[in-house]
Symmetry: C2
Subunit: 133 residues, 2 copies
């Protein structure tokens, strides 16, 4: 039904998919190789149907794919979606850390010129670039 899942939507689904310990457990298991729904359901105390739903969530998030093997339906991890998540996180984490390095430099050069250090940037809205790529 969804025609054009925007970048936002894809990030929404992927982050949401990982916001559940069962689904993270499934990802952890799949990092070691493909598995069937029954195999994936085994460690958890919920019904197979519930696990099947979790796999659907992971699939719609692009984190896993399903193939066919007779009546089995092995689930495979797709690491590219994981990489997209770390890319998003690291982007802003690195901007934040760069800001701290710049602040350190500022403090190192203009030592003694106080009052700019305590909460520098509370209303520092210099360049308003795009929020999400």
């Amino acid at each position: 039904m969804i025609v054009d899942p925007s970048a936002d939507d894809r990030l929404d689904r992927a982050f949401m998919a990982l916001a559940d310990p069962v689904r993270r457990g499934i990802i952890a298991r799949l990092s070691r190789g493909p598995a069937t729904v029954n195999e994936l359901a085994e460690p958890f105390e919920i019904t197979k149907q519930a696990v099947s739903k979790h796999i659907q969530v992971l699939e719609q998030a692009g984190l896993v794919t399903r193939t066919r093997d007779a009546q089995r339906r092995p689930v495979h991890l797709d690491a590219r979606a994981l990489q997209a998540l770390t890319a998003w996180i690291d982007r802003y984490r690195l901007i934040h850390e760069q800001r701290f390095r710049n602040l350190d430099e500022l403090l190192a050069t203009s030592r003694g010129t106080d009052a700019a250090a305590s909460d520098a940037g509370t209303s520092a809205g210099t360049a308003q670039e795009e929020m999400e790529s």
Copy 2:
């Protein structure tokens, strides 16, 4: 109310917190420096109360902290939580990629010995290590 938020709970909250474009926008803005609720609410077409709730979600996830400045309450990014997320993701992404490298080696050494390549590992549960650290 919550006494001991487990590692699972913390990951739950953090991933869930990022599964929303408004909250990701807030994180993006805070990567450039602290901001007040009003400043953070400005780009969005929702009420300040809604933004305040989003900030609470981010705060409970450990992604941001709030300080005091008279009647203002500047919000600061806490990059350590972001690092915890990339650590979790990269852990399993790297295991997955290592498995592919191993598979490549296997194919390189025993070329001609087929049938192990198509779906190697469908029931490969060698070592059952802990799912989450």
